[in-house]
């Protein structure tokens, strides 16, 4: 199977742990080379965070387990990039 090189997931998490600690914890996964966490929405009890993860061979299950251990849940997988190199989303006339 092709290795995952980039993963964009939509995560719902409680306020604790804060985004900083949460991102560091998820970023500790061995298969992750870099991670970006962007706060999308702030609610009374929860936060909606978009995680952009890059690596040579991202282990989705390990990342999901780390997110869930930190109290978060993956709401949707918004982008997956697999293969030898990262292929960006190509613009089409419909865009």
């Amino acid at each position: 199977m092709a290795q995952i090189r980039r993963l964009v997931v939509d995560v719902l998490k409680p306020h604790e742990p804060p985004v900083l600690a949460f991102t560091q914890q998820v970023g500790d996964a061995e298969s992750i080379a870099g991670i970006n966490a962007t706060l999308l929405e702030l609610d009374k009890e929860v936060q909606n965070v978009k995680l952009t993860i890059e690596g040579e061979a991202i282990d989705y299950d390990a990342i999901e387990a780390l997110i869930e251990d930190a109290g978060g849940t993956i709401h949707s997988v918004d982008q997956v990039v697999c293969g030898e190199y990262i292929v960006e989303n190509a613009p089409t006339p419909q865009d």
Binding site: P14, E16, D43, K44, E45, A70, G71, T73
Partner: protein, 191 residues
């Protein structure tokens, strides 16, 4: 920062404002109970310092157990309520996650600090009674015990002033005064 790292290593960073409140509030209870016990014991005509220590230790056991037990139950209920609210918002079960572990560790720290306060507040004023007989008379030990209690209360006040950024000696005097007030009330109590 080095100081932050030391605080993290010995776990002081986990002592939040609620734990501080429990510690000082219950420490205040312990110290004032200590004054009541020591002055009351002296005025009742106890034969020696060891008897005062035994009475004081009984009080310390009671207050410390009360501090730990009550706060454990209060914090457990609060923790479960908070967790339930978050679970409702997340539509997921948060058992065995870091969220639950963090709340449990806060519960443990709060309960321990709640018990440590009265233990410190009551045990320190009993120390002078260890020296009753040899260098101190029972009266002197009682006076010294009240002074130690006032010192403990002063320290609590000065410590709280670090948070509120008041003048430390004013905050210390405000707290320390309570020890003297209780000692005076105990002297004038009937019997």
């Amino acid at each position: 920062m080095a100081s932050n790292s030391i605080r993290e290593r010995i776990g002081i960073d986990k002592i939040g404002p609620i734990a501080r409140r429990y510690f000082v509030s219950n420490g205040f209870d312990g110290a004032l109970t200590g004054v009541g016990i020591t002055v009351g014991a002296y005025l009742s005509g106890v034969p020696d310092g060891f008897t005062v220590i035994k009475i004081g230790l009984g009080g310390a056991v009671g207050l410390t157990t009360s501090g730990v037990w009550s706060v454990w139950e209060i914090e457990r209920a609060e923790m479960q309520a908070e967790l339930h609210d978050i679970e409702e918002a997340m539509l997921t079960d948060l058992s065995e996650t870091q969220v639950e572990r963090d709340k449990t560790s806060t519960q443990v720290v709060n309960a321990l600090m709640s018990g440590l306060g009265p233990l410190v507040g009551l045990l320190l004023p009993l120390i002078p009674f260890l020296f009753e007989g040899a260098p101190l008379s029972l009266f002197q030990a009682t006076l010294l015990s009240v002074a130690v209690t006032v010192g403990v209360l002063f320290t609590f006040g000065a410590y709280m002033s670090m948070i509120s950024r008041q003048r430390w000696y004013i905050a210390g005097i405000r707290m320390g005064l309570a020890g003297i007030v209780v000692a005076v009330i105990s002297i004038f109590l009937p019997g």
